[in-house]
Every structure is written in structure tokens, then in C-alpha cells.
Symmetry: C2
Subunit: 642 residues, 2 copies
């Protein structure tokens, strides 16, 4: 750990390669989209998660173990420990970023209770292995013990990279050592039904410079794909990605979060072990999955049954699962692939997913969340029971807590560490990847720092103004990401104003204090058409604006209209309207239906035509991330064309 | 039981109303579509089901109870007893129809083993209530005890109506009496997670003239809809139809088989108690569900997650569940509503469902089955493990047995009693509802019989020739169903040839031996268009022929084509080809995709157009019921238009 960046709060630090992410304390948000989300996360979500987990007894499960009182019923799913660990990770990043004392206290108080529950040999789990419980590792398919351990390790990494070694790190090392003994090359050849331990071991190995952990992560990855895990009811080996070895797989399949955590851990191991073929396998899987199994929002997961990927082109908007956690996991994978390859497409997908999946889930106050993020909601939801645990909030109402409540704490750790995805440094080149009003200060060792002041209303406005505040004693280059949708962007710098194609825009001329760079990204509303192989949205179009996907909500329709019957006039471009758009639409009268009591199909030589006189109106479209904020509503992203 | 029809093998005999179904022995198939299915059922499926259930130990579960050996693990799901009962019902109808001795022997041998497992107080279940098992009725949500009992009662009805009271009937009466004592008006106000007991009690009540059973069925129906059942994980009260009282519900929702069995039992109770408002509720639910939640095949159930109905217009072809059992249950409901109301639409839906769901499930030899019946299979399935228990055969390969194996025995009882749906008698009017080559002989009490000889290749040919062989000593009218799709049908009788509109065609002139009636139904291929509110198949068309839905299979495409890319030329009518059709199609080159590594959506002012020169070819479409018979294939019913 000679590089000073390693003492910074950086979520992912590959052991090799030219690029590094920035530390959370290197970028201070000064306003805008992500600051609002990060603030409601700090102020509300962290407490909210703790309150719910105390109330439901998930935290007290640790006390029950330490008090030897595990004989009675245990509240929560097998994996509830992981929620406390994800909250710990969120608290660690939050404290690393802000230095807030209350955050540190909340964290330390939890760590004390967790530490007391750790067994002498390092095993730590509140569901297995104690009086009245199933034995350790009795149910690798569903038990989630290694999954929980992986999240513990990730939390410890956040702590290690923000305050250095502490009690949490010590617990994690003991747990990791236990896992290595139990599942090492000469021990039990098991693997966990839910990948995650790979990620935790790999990053802890990096943070501590401990190759045993990396090696154990590699072992878990190589063991997978041989049908070791027993199917759970209707869920076969592909559900766990145990159907095909990782290096042979060509696409992600099965449970989306599982597939994506596995891919992220695999990328880490591939980079750290210099296994370029393994890395290439993950890139190949990413590519086909993005091209054929990804929603316009960046969402992944087409099926409710297994919370999983469907087949190529199976992308139903109404039954889109697009779990919030899968969006977060997709960002994690893309970030690792970006660091490994430097390719802009990974940062492009991250932006799409951050704005349209990650930002969609929480309510503005950070106290309610979407679990699934469909692109079409046919009927306004009946509602959520505010004080109660709810099912997975499929119905278009954000819920305060779920039966399986993985998303709130996952959001908490992601929002607390958003800065980590905003920029990267490669040799003397600084690359801005995500745009937000902020002050940035990047240290260049003994040469001083590059400080930038960034002013922007992005994503609602496309102008990003970057003022150079301070420069180091060596020449530094600045590079800006021009998103893939930003055709017609311009860049103004000391060399003048010029067009900037999607990809990388290099700032020309030396950076000197006071110099200003201005990137202008076109954020006019634009029509976006699906590949015709996506059967479920044939004949439809969506409207996007900058990185934001827009949607039509029933609350914005004339009262006599239904979202079932609207048609969009694609011959007229939608116009900007606030931070949404106005699109010209009509409501059709469905063609004469079959006689009453017959299925909704009609035989005729010619296709039936919509009846009725068309009344055209400008209908507002709002950013998708904001849907259902004005109360329960029906919604659709893709609208049939007239 | 004064009416002689009650001693006949008639599946459903309402206690009132003018219509009766015919007895299974009143119609003898002499060839054709349903004879083939009924024969493979007789020759193979009955044995096949028994062999699997012996092999898996589901039958032996009864022996374990009678031997007091229930302490060890019990093979099969909680509801496996019901599979033996459905097989019993199939055997009872089969014997009632054919008088075959081996069928009777198989049945009696099973009944002996079942009888030995019945508790002294009439309780009969191999999963609950004995040493080492959960107590009786400890899990009404998932335990399926009353569901199993309902199937036992239905089997007993089949026996009662074919050979009269016997040991099976005795067992069933003791079980029914137990249920009435345990769940009667002054006892436990429970209900079963899976409706079925209502059906069994109602029909057994009819067959025995026992109003207590009808009353108990009524009680179970009225108790439902108040959230008594606890949610199972993500499945809420609507999954069990416990969200809304039956008489208030406007549409079917939740688990499709549950919803449909409940509706069938409710129709029975409504008819027998003269509760016209309750009957109207079922009719209303049928109507909206058929108009908005039903597939072109007649299939019901749009979701895999809960094997359930989706919302209105949620009818994805690829993830269509359309469980075989839901198709059977739909036929059961429609038959009861037809008997109650005499409306032709119920018989029309039955035909659609019988040909395109029920007939699709079994392989020609009756030894493999589809569980789900999707309308679009994107990739040819990897295959089924022939000797093993398989999951629910979603992948386009019929499987010999499933983990949950409800469909094979359900098919067996349905095919064994197909005759029961073919015709009805109302006063002096005989109505032919389903067409098949057959000899029919209907007794008119002391007046003799009407005998008809029916010659047809239906559904592959539309001509149905009916020769009057014998007439009773009173005037009898003959009425024929003209299916709703049969525009341009003609009827020739003694009054000459004339057009016959969809609905009822009345034969004119007295029926005398030797007179011939000929119905000509147009079975040219026709294009069928979906309601535009069905988003998932917008811009697509299907081809039907007579009552048969056709489909395109990948094995019939030119080798360089993919089902993902075909377009149908709807301007040229498809032509007849064997019992399928030839449709003019091309394969398109998808418009230029986004750059590699980007999601499959592209922004542009104009909609992208398919590239490439169109090569048009005649592509065969085959009847949907035959898909995947030539090996694993991709398939689609709805094809995008050019």
C-alpha cells in the first residue's frame, strides 16, 4: 500500500492496471441531482434502515447468538445478516466521505454487537451453526452464509480504506481466514448459491495485500458451473450460474443479481491474477447481455419467477423485473470493466443505469423504495401498507421495507460512495465520467493537486462548465466523456469551440488556474426506437432526454384517456418541457371488438383500423426516475406510434 | 335419481335447469381427432400415470399410512394424493365408457390401498395427521388436504354414475362427512388454499341427492374472499382468490387453476341453490376474463411467478403460462355455464380450448406432456431428461413426468370423458356442440331413441355429415353449433341448403331414418388480428384454420432464416396446405443496430427501417397442437406483419 490512493476511500482498487478511481473525499458535490440523493441517503435512509432492522429483530439476531439464545424462532430470512453488513458498508463510506461522528458511532455500535456473535474460529452467522439451528454450511444452495460473509468483507474494505484497520476489519479477517480454511484447495469443494464472497475476498485481498484471499476468490469462481448446487424446486443450475463454467459462458442468465455479483468478482480476480482470458469472458458476457437482454433504463432482469434474465430479446416492459439491486450490481460490473479496459461504453451504461434504475428506486425522502422497476404499469397500484413489511413493491408504489429487503441497504452503500464512479485517473490524464456540480481536488503526489470547480444543472441541462482552480507542478491532461447519445455535442476550451463526438473529448491546451472548459451536451428530447427483435414493444417509441428516459404517467393524461389507448405522433418531434417533454398524442378507440364474451382477437382479411376522430394533444412526459412520486399512477415508457 | 340419465356416466348433472349433458356411452367415436387422443389415453396414459406414481412412491404413501409407517420421509408434494384420485376418476370414466375389465381391476386395486389408509373418522390424507406428520389442517394455505378430498369426491361421482355405489363411493362419503363435521357451520371456519372441495362436494351432493354436501360447498364458497388465508411468501390473498368475495369479484385473478376450479364449483352451487346472482357473478367473471385475459388458444394464465392471470391485456406470447390444467379447468367452467344458460359462447370457448390447449399437451403416444403452453418459444429447448422427473416443461419439449405432475392425470380424466362435452339435450331438442366422427344414440325414455351417424374429418375438413339412423316415437329437433369463426357456413337438410350464421343452426323438417343433414364449415386459413391493447403482440397477426390455431416452427424455415426476423405478408391470404397453411413470408435484416456494446435501442427522428432485399417464400404453418412433435423447435403463433 505504497500508493497514497490506497489510504483514500476508494471502493475498487485493482492491484494492477493504469487506471484508478478517485477517492470519495476527492470530489465534493455542491448541488444538483446526486447531491439531493446523497443527502436524503445521509439524513434519512441510513437511520431508516437501522430502525427497520432493529424493529424486525435482524440486528438482535447477533445478540441472540452472543447470548447463546438461538433456540427460539429467528426473525428474518437466512440472508438478513447481509443487510446489516451493507448498512455497515454504507456507514463506512459515509463516514469516510464526510467524517461525521454520528455515522462513526452508529457503525461502531453495530460492530460491537456483531463482534460478540463471532465464533472463536472466525465463523460468523446468526442463522446457522448454533444451538437449535441447522449446522454450518448445511444448505449451500439457499443458506447464504458465504454471501453474508462477502458483504461483511466489503464493509471491512470500506472501513480499511477510510479509517484504516479497526475492529470491523479484524472481524472480517477472521471470517475470511475461516472461509479459506473451510473452503480452501484441500478442504470442502463447496460454493455458495449466491455469489458475493468472491467480491469480498478479492477486494479485501487487495486492501490488505493478502494473496490468500484472492486465491480463495479464484477457487470459488473456478468451481462454479459444474452443477454442484442442487436445484431449488423449479430453479435449475442456471439460476445460480452453476450450469456453465464462468470462462465458457457467453451471456448472463439466471438470477440477475447473482450473475452480476459473480461477474464483478470474476473481473476483480481476472485483473489481479492477470488472467486476460477470464477477463475477456466477462467482457463477452457483458457485451451480449447489454446488446440483447438490457432495458432502455439499463435495467436487467426480465422475469419475476427467478428474478432473472430472460432469453435474448425477451424484454417485456410490463413484467420487467429490473431489480434495483441488479442495477447496482450492473454498475459494479461496468465500473470494474471500465477500470480494466478504459472503454467508454462501460461508463455510458453506468450513467444510463444510475439515472434510470438506481435513482428511480428511492423516494425523495429516502424512506421508501422500489424493488422492481418495470417500464410499464397498466393499473395504478392499490397501495402499500406504510407501517408494515411489504412484498416487493411491484405495483408502482415505493415501500418503506420489503419481506426481502436487499435494495434499501444496497442503495445506501451505493449512494454513499457515488463519487467513486465520477472520474478516473490514468497516468497524467484525468477523465471526468459523470457530471455533477462539484469541487474536485485530485492529488498528484509531491507535485500538488489538480482542483476543478464544476458547475452544471446536468442532467436537466447539458452545459457542464469546468473551471480550473489549481494545477499541479506537472502537465496534466483532462478528458471528458461525451455520452453515446450526445450527437452534436461541443467542447469549448483554450483552443476554441469545436464538435465533440460521442466517446472521449480531450481538452486542448495546458490547464492553468482560471481557465474554463465548457462541454455542451444536447439534451433536447429525442425519439428512441427499439430493436425490432424485442417483440414486446414492437411499434412503439420512447422519448429520452440526455441520460434520462422519460415516461407517460396516467395522472398527466386528459381524464377521458387511458394509457392503453394512447398513440404518439412520431412525425412531430417532442418538445422540451421543464425537465421532461411534451409529445403529441391521441387516444384511439380500439377497432370494433369481437362480440361480447369472445377472446380479444378478430379474423379479417385486412388489419382492423382504429376508429374515431383523432384529437391530438400535447401530453407531458416526465423523467422515469420520478414516476409514481405524485401518487399511484399507471405509466409507460414505450408508447405505440400512430 | 328418477331420471334415467343419472344412472348414465355423465360428468356434470345440475340438479335443475332444462339442459343435460349426454352420457359417455351415448356417443361412440368412430375415428378422427378425439378418438386418436382418447385411444392413446386408454392405451398408454392410464398405465403411464400409474407406473410413474408407483415408481415415485406416491401410491405407496397410502400403504405407509395403513401400515403405520409414516415416520420416515414421504415422497411427493403435499398434494400427490390428488394425482391418484384424478387417475381413479379417469379410470372410472374409462370403464364407464368402455366396460373394459382391466380398467376396473386397476381402479379396484387402487381403491383397496386407499381404503386401508382412511382413518376411522373418515379423514383420508397421506401427508398430515399421522405419526411423524404435521397435524390435520395445520396448513390450510399449502396443505391441500381439502383439495385432495375434492378430487376423491369427483372420482367417486364418476364411479357412482358408471357402476353405482361401491367401495370408492363409500370412502368418499365418509371423507365428505368428515369434512362437513370438521368445517361445517358450527365448526372450524376454515377454507382450503386450493379450491376443489367445492366441486367435489357439489357433484357428490347431486349424485347422491345429499343436500348437506351442497350446503358445505356453499359454505366454503361464501367464506372465501376475506383474507383468511395467510400469504405465502410473495403470493398474496389474490393468489388464492381470498382477496374478494366470489359474488363481488369482477374478473379472475391469481392462480389460474385455483380461480377456475372455484368458479366451476361456484356455478354448481349457484345452480343447485337457485342463486341467480351468484351465477351472474361467475358469468361476469368469465366474460371479462375471456375478453381481456385469454390467449388465442383459449389458454389462461399469463404469469409464471404465480401460475396466474395477469392484468387485463397482459398476454405475452413467450411467457404465456397457459397451464394445461387451467385449460381443462376453463372447459369445466364453460361447460357448467353452458348447461346453466344455454349460451353458445361457452361451447365456442370450449372448442377453442380443447383443440389448442388440451390437445396440445400430450404427445401422440400419450406418454409425455406439456405443462405450460406458450405461444412463442424463442429458442429450441435443450431437452428433457427422459427417464427422470422434470421441471414444468417450459422449454418446448413434452416431458414424461413433472415435479408437480398435475397435468397428466388431469388430461387422463378429461380425455376419458370427452363425450360428455359433445352434445346436450333440452326437452326435445338435441344440440351437437362438438363435431367428431361418431355414432350417437340418445334415449328418449319410453319413446325410443334418436340415433345419428356422424361422418367428418373435422377439424381438418369442415364438412359434417349427419345421417339419421333411428328416431324416437316423438318429434325431436336437432340443432347444430356453428362456431363463431365460421362465417359463410352452410347447412343442407330436407328444407334445402342455406347459409348458417355463427350460433345455432336449426335443422328443418322432421327427422326420419335415412335423412341426411350436412353442415359445411369454412376451414380455409384466415388471418386473425389481436386487440391493439395487447401490447405484447402489437403489429402481429396469427393464422387460424377452423378451430385450430396455427404456428410457425423453426424446422420449417429456410435454413438461413430465424423466427426472430420473419415477417408475414398480410396482403396475400395464406393458402391451405395439408391441415396447415402456407403463408408468404420474408426474413428481414434488422435495421443497423447501435454500436457494439450498447443496449438495443437507437435514437433517430424517423423510425429505423428493415434493411435488405426481401426474398419472399411460402412458409408452412402447422396446427399449434402439433408443435414440437418433430423434435425440439422454436415456434411462434403471432408473426409480425411486413
Amino acid at each position: 500500500m505504497e500508493d497514497d490512493t490506497c489510504t483514500r476511500a476508494v471502493p475498487v482498487v485493482p492491484s494492477g492496471g493504469p487506471r484508478r478511481g478517485i477517492g470519495l473525499d476527492e470530489l465534493h458535490l455542491t448541488g444538483g441531482f446526486w447531491q439531493r440523493l446523497q443527502r436524503s441517503n445521509s439524513r434519512n435512509t441510513l437511520h431508516h434502515c437501522l430502525e427497520w432492522m432493529e424493529r424486525l429483530g435482524w440486528v438482535a439476531n447477533f445478540d441472540r447468538v452472543s447470548e447463546g439464545a438461538t433456540d427460539g424462532p429467528r426473525p428474518g430470512w437466512q440472508f438478513s445478516d447481509s443487510e446489516i453488513y451493507k448498512l455497515l458498508e454504507a456507514l463506512a463510506w459515509e463516514h469516510g466521505r464526510t467524517g461525521e461522528t454520528w455515522v462513526n458511532e452508529m457503525l461502531e455500535s453495530l460492530v460491537d454487537r456483531i463482534a460478540a456473535a463471532q465464533d472463536d474460529d472466525g465463523y460468523l452467522n446468526t442463522c446457522f451453526g448454533h444451538a437449535g439451528q441447522q449446522p454450518r454450511y448445511a444448505d449451500l444452495e439457499s443458506g447464504h452464509e458465504l454471501y453474508c460473509a462477502g458483504h461483511l468483507l466489503q464493509a471491512a474494505v470500506a472501513r480499511l480504506r477510510s479509517v484504516g484497520p479497526d475492529k470491523l476489519v479484524e472481524i472480517a479477517c477472521r471470517a475470511a481466514d475461516h472461509v479459506c480454511r473451510e473452503f480452501g484447495p484441500d478442504s470442502r469443494a463447496g460454493l455458495c448459491g449466491h455469489p458475493e464472497i468472491e467480491l469480498g475476498l478479492a477486494e479485501l485481498g487487495r486492501a490488505l495485500g493478502e494473496p490468500r484471499y484472492t486465491e480463495q476468490a479464484r477457487l470459488f469462481i473456478e468451481r462454479r458451473g459444474y452443477g454442484t448446487l442442487k436445484p431449488i424446486a423449479l430453479l435449475d443450475a442456471s439460476y445460480f450460474q452453476d450450469d456453465t463454467p464462468v470462462r465458457e459462458a457467453t451471456v448472463w442468465r439466471g438470477h440477475a443479481v447473482r450473475a452480476l455479483y459473480l461477474a464483478a468478482g470474476t473481473a476483480d480476480v481476472a485483473v489481479d491474477t492477470g488472467d486476460t482470458r477470464l477477463l475477456a469472458a466477462v467482457e463477452r458476457q457483458w457485451e451480449r447481455t447489454v446488446e440483447r437482454r438490457t432495458y432502455l433504463t439499463g435495467g436487467m432482469g426480465s422475469r419475476h419467477q427467478d428474478e432473472g434474465f430472460g432469453e435474448d430479446w425477451e424484454l417485456p416492459p410490463d413484467r420487467a423485473y429490473c431489480e434495483t439491486c441488479a442495477g447496482i450490481a450492473s454498475v459494479m460490473v461496468s465500473w470494474r470493466l471500465y477500470l480494466a479496459t478504459g472503454e467508454v461504453r462501460y461508463a455510458d451504461l453506468m450513467e444510463r443505469t444510475l439515472y434510470n434504475v438506481v435513482a428511480t428506486s428511492p423516494s425523495p425522502d429516502g424512506r421508501a423504495f422500489f424493488y422492481a422497476n418495470p417500464l410499464h404499469q397498466r393499473t395504478a397500484a392499490a397501495g402499500i401498507r406504510p407501517g408494515e413489511v411489504n412484498p416487493r413493491a411491484e405495483g408502482g408504489v415505493r415501500a418503506p421495507w420489503f419481506d426481502v429487503s436487499c435494495c434499501p441497504t444496497n442503495l445506501a452503500r451505493t449512494l454513499a460512495s457515488w463519487q467513486g464512479y465520477a472520474a478516473s485517473v490514468e497516468d497524467d490524464t484525468v477523465t471526468l465520467l459523470q457530471y455533477a456540480a462539484s469541487e474536485m481536488r485530485l492529488a498528484f503526489g509531491d507535485d500538488g493537486a489538480l482542483a476543478l470547480s464544476i458547475t452544471t444543472e446536468y442532467p436537466h441541462d447539458g452545459t457542464v462548465r469546468i473551471e480550473v482552480v489549481e494545477t499541479p507542478d506537472r502537465a496534466v491532461n483532462l478528458r471528458l466523456r461525451v455520452p453515446h447519445w450526445a450527437h452534436g455535442a461541443t467542447l469549448a476550451d483554450r483552443a476554441g469551440e469545436r464538435g465533440a463526438e460521442p466517446g472521449w473529448a480531450h481538452v486542448r491546451g495546458a490547464l492553468v488556474p482560471g481557465s474554463v472548459v465548457e462541454l455542451r451536451l444536447p439534451v433536447d428530447p429525442r425519439l428512441t426506437w427499439p430493436d425490432p427483435r424485442i417483440d414486446a414493444i414492437r411499434g412503439c417509441v420512447a422519448v429520452e432526454r440526455g441520460p434520462l428516459v422519460l415516461c407517460a404517467e396516467s395522472v398527466d393524461l386528459p381524464q377521458s384517456w387511458s394509457l392503453d389507448d394512447i398513440r404518439l405522433d412520431a412525425a412531430r418531434p417532442p418538445r422540451a418541457d421543464g425537465d421532461g417533454a411534451l409529445a403529441r398524442m391521441t387516444s384511439v378507440q380500439p377497432p370494433s371488438p369481437p362480440p361480447s364474451g369472445y377472446p380479444p382477437y378478430r379474423s379479417s382479411a385486412r388489419p382492423p383500423r382504429d376508429d374515431g376522430e383523432a384529437t391530438w394533444r400535447d401530453v407531458p412526459l416526465v423523467p422515469y426516475y420520478r414516476w409514481a412520486r405524485r401518487g399511484s399512477s399507471a405509466m409507460r415508457v414505450f408508447v405505440p406510434t400512430a
